[in-house]
């Protein structure tokens, strides 16, 4: 019976730490309510590593006691005695009142301060910021001196300072104020501010508080600035994914594809369909669906793009304004088609676990994983496009036709085929952008409309036929947008940017990076 043996061994292993604390458990179960309060307070102030398992079990409601108040612990539904002395009574779960629960949380946090995992330590420090009793001061000081992780260190400083600020001695308060100055926590700012606004009498402490406040504000400002730069880069990468294909087709054919935004939308809907497919057919690999959606979205949108080029746009070459209108018509039809098939509401595309959450860089700066991944993905797509345009036969042809269509045709470049493939490539890139967009925003029939004007501005600003132009224009516009947003509001920021672009193309009508041509009409 190996399974039974394993089970026994396993429960013994689990019991070991508890067994070591049988004394604590016995003390706790035997104690009256007021005695339990005292016990928990005492344990908070003098944490030991062995007691933690018992406290955890206590919080999870797995500690019980029998009629003789002997402690038991529940393991996999079974009551196990913690002491030698057993009675035959069935153990009952130990109930805790609210006060005891609060104290238990504090005690657990003070024990968790020595956890191996920095995240757990951070959580514990955050808890103690709110409700640490003064008795915890020595523990906090000791942990603060030993702590290696910056974020936890800051959090501990705040918890410590919170306690010290209440001290009647000015010297201790001064120490606390200095400590707050060294952290970069947003709460430190409010704490210092309320101290300055309040009735702090000691001039030295006041002065130190002012210096600390300035320090904290500087740190917070850096965090904010980095945050803005990051959201600018994030917006830029999205604009880049949206505008890259547009820049290629505009450079090559001289036509603006108003249905380009709808390629983004179709890419996002392809992601949705792939997600559903995974849910139905292979739920165990669901986390990987965004990766599987990439080729699907690319192929779907590229095929639609090529079909459009062959059936409509090909007949309108040399008439760019008419192409603009015709592609607008296509976009209307595509939007309405999606609306009829999938409904006018947004569909739900969920982030897999590896794309949710974020990376805490500073106390006031969290970078969401999905945005980080999308920045990387945009750069990856740019690199692929660059390789395709500069290292393949197709890319050579595309560049030749972009520079001089007639001459390329004379040299035997099949311009019609190149047009079709390039249009497919541009649409496919938009489809990839749609996969990215589905991970950060709503997926609905109007998804593409929101991006089309911005991506046109990227093309206008960046000029055509040069990847460098699109990249710098996309990131430039993204960062500028996000810098202006908090200063003057999103709408006025957009209007200002438009005005700046109009002024900019006064100087450089062909965009940032223009190809020199000698053709004149």
């Amino acid at each position: 019976m190996p399974t039974a043996l394993y089970r026994l061994l396993l429960s013994l292993a689990l019991l070991l730490p508890l067994g070591a604390q049988a004394g604590d458990a016995l003390e706790f179960t035997r104690a009256g309510a007021s005695e339990q309060v005292r016990l928990l307070e005492h344990w908070s102030a003098s944490p030991t590593a062995e007691r933690r398992a018992f406290l955890d079990a206590l919080q999870q409601g797995r500690i019980g006691a029998d009629g003789d108040k002997n402690p038991y612990v529940q393991q996999a539904g079974q009551w196990q005695p913690l002491t030698e002395a057993n009675s035959d009574d069935n153990p009952r779960v130990l109930r805790l009142n609210n006060r005891l629960r609060g104290l238990l949380n504090t005690a657990l946090a003070s024990h968790a301060l020595s956890d191996e995992n920095a995240g757990a330590r951070l959580d514990a420090a955050r808890t103690l910021q709110r409700n640490a009793p003064p008795a915890l001061l020595p523990v906090l000081e000791q942990r603060f001196a030993q702590e290696g992780d910056d974020a936890v260190h800051d959090a501990l400083a705040l918890a410590l300072a919170n306690l010290q600020l209440a001290s009647p001695e000015a010297a201790t308060r001064l120490k606390a104020v200095r400590l707050l100055g060294e952290t970069g926590e947003p709460q430190a700012k409010t704490r210092l501010q309320s101290l300055l606004d309040g009735d702090e009498a000691d001039p030295a402490v006041r002065k130190a508080a002012e210096t600390s406040l300035a320090q904290v504000e500087r740190k917070l400002f850096i965090g904010e600035l980095l945050g803005q730069a990051f959201s600018g880069l994030s917006l830029g990468s999205i604009l880049l994914l949206a505008a890259l294909g547009l820049a290629i087709t505009f450079g090559l054919l001289g036509v603006i594809n108003m249905a380009h935004g709808e390629m983004l939308m179709l890419g996002a809907y392809s992601t949705y369909l792939v997600q559903i497919g995974f849910q139905r057919l292979a739920p165990e690999y669901l986390a990987l669906y965004p990766l599987a959606a990439l080729p699907v979205a690319f192929l779907v949108t590229a095929a639609i793009g090529m079909a459009l080029e062959r059936t409509v746009i090909r007949h309108l070459y040399g008439r760019p304004l008419e192409t603009l209108l015709a592609t607008w018509g296509i976009s209307l039809i595509l939007i309405q088609l999606v609306r009829v098939i999938f409904g006018a509401q947004n569909v739900e595309v969920a982030n897999p676990a590896w794309l949710s959450g974020g990376w805490q860089v500073l106390p006031n700066l969290v970078l969401p994983w999905n945005r980080i991944v999308i920045i990387g993905f945009a750069l990856f797509v740019v690199a692929l496009t660059w390789l395709l345009l500069n290292r393949t036969r197709l890319g050579l042809n595309v560049r030749a036709v972009t520079q001089n269509r007639n001459m390329a045709a004379c040299c035997g470049v099949p311009t019609g085929k190149v047009d079709m493939l390039a249009f497919g490539l541009g649409s496919g890139i938009a489809g990839l952008g749609g996969v990215a967009l589905s991970q950060i925003g709503n997926v609905g029939p109007d998804l593409g409309q929101g991006y089309i004007i911005d991506s046109f501005l990227v093309v206008v600003l960046g000029g055509v036929g040069q990847l460098a132009g699109s990249i710098s224009a996309a990131f430039g516009l993204g960062v500028l947008n996000k810098i202006l947003e908090p200063q003057i509001g999103a709408v006025l920021g957009k209007i200002l940017i438009l005005a700046l672009i109009i002024l900019f193309i006064q100087k450089r009508p062909q965009g940032l990076f223009a190809l020199r041509g000698r053709v004149i009409d």
Partner: protein, 361 residues
């Protein structure tokens, strides 16, 4: 035998064609003139025209002015504007300001009270006077067009670049007017008008006068368009459209020509908007959405650009079909409109007017 018949037929139609067109045109004009008078008949009269019909036709007349204005810049000067809805809406908002002040009396317009503002923003000063509102109707779109056009034409922005910039312009305007703080009623815009020049805005008499004013504006714009198109100015504009560089080599400076027609077009749109608002009874920022402006382009394309009658036909047809579809088959309107965009550009480069011309010859 057969060929002879055909030549005879052609010759006959060539003689008859212009006369037929003229006759049709005069009939339409007579019907349009009769509509407001019939609206004044008592409600149970057999020939009574409902206020719905009158408003619908009046609305289309305003749209026709927009189509004509757009045709002046697109069909003649080759500048496709995707932002004419902005000028239209600005004219409408200027008129709306006056109407709001009329409804509010001495107090603040209702939406400002909701925002708990205590006094009018500076740009509302004087809007209780009809004449000042009229000045704004002309000046605001005109000035904006002048500033935008001055910079755009100075750096020789044209073609799709120009179209995109105008689209971005109207988009920015829409975002601006959506804000409550801008002071134009935000999302809801202006509505619930009561009086214009002291007259009840829903009275049949007022409606008839507004309708006639729209018709007059359309006829005036048409006359202006004809005079411009026949003049040397019109010929230079056509040359700008067809070969701007060659025109410059001949010693012309196209900037002034483009700027003039661009501003004139914007002002016409503003006037159309000002007449549109009291008839329809509402103006909100969605009038500035890029979709509306680009729809105006399809009116012109369908009717036939570079002609003056064509855009009027296009505006009438598309809007007539729109009112039909949105009532009967709302699901299919966008399919139809989309297909219209594609088919017209592919198969009807000169629009319906071009078809008629070919028929006449």
């Amino acid at each position: 035998m057969n060929t002879m018949n055909q030549t005879l037929l052609l010759r006959a139609s060539a003689k008859v064609g212009p006369r037929v067109s003229l006759a049709i045109g005069l009939t339409v004009l007579a019907v349009l003139l009769a509509l407001p008078l019939l609206h004044l008949l008592p409600g149970d009269h057999a020939l009574h025209v409902s206020s719905y019909t009158l408003t619908l036709v009046g609305k289309i007349l305003c749209y026709a002015v927009v189509a004509l204005a757009l045709d002046l810049v697109w069909g003649y000067a080759g500048l496709l504007s995707l932002g004419h809805g902005l000028f239209f809406a600005l004219g409408g908002y200027a008129m709306g300001m006056y109407l709001m002040r009329q409804s509010a009396g001495d107090g603040l317009p209702a939406f400002m009270s909701f925002l708990s503002w205590s006094e009018l923003p500076w740009y509302w000063v004087g809007t209780e006077h009809f004449l000042w509102a009229l000045c704004l109707v002309v000046a605001v779109p005109g000035l904006l067009a002048f500033v935008f056009g001055y910079f755009a034409f100075r750096s020789r922005i044209k073609g799709v670049y120009f179209s995109i910039m105008t689209q971005a312009l109207t988009f920015a305007g829409m975002l601006l007017f959506f804000r409550n703080e801008t002071g134009f009623g935000g999302n809801n815009g202006f509505t619930d008008f009561k009086r214009i020049l002291g007259f009840d805005i829903t009275a049949p008499g007022t409606r008839a006068v507004l309708f006639l004013a729209s018709l007059l504006l359309l006829l005036g714009s048409l006359y202006l368009g004809f005079r411009l198109a026949r003049s040397k100015f019109g010929r230079v504009l056509t040359a700008v459209r067809d070969a701007e560089n060659r025109l410059m080599f001949c010693g012309y400076d196209p900037r002034g020509y483009k700027l003039f027609i661009w501003v004139l077009s914007a002002v016409l749109c503003g006037l159309a908007g000002a007449l549109y608002v009291p008839q329809v009874g509402i103006i909100n920022p969605s009038e500035m959405s890029p979709t509306n402006s680009i729809e105006a382009a399809v009116w012109v394309a369908l009717g036939g650009r570079g002609s003056l009658i064509g855009p009027l036909l296009g505006a009438g047809l598309v809007n007539g079909m729109k009112s039909f579809f949105t009532v009967a088959l709302p699901e299919y309107w966008l399919f139809f409109l989309g297909a219209l965009f594609i088919l017209v550009t592919l198969y009807l480069p000169k629009g319906i007017y071009g078809l008629i011309k070919r028929g006449e010859q």
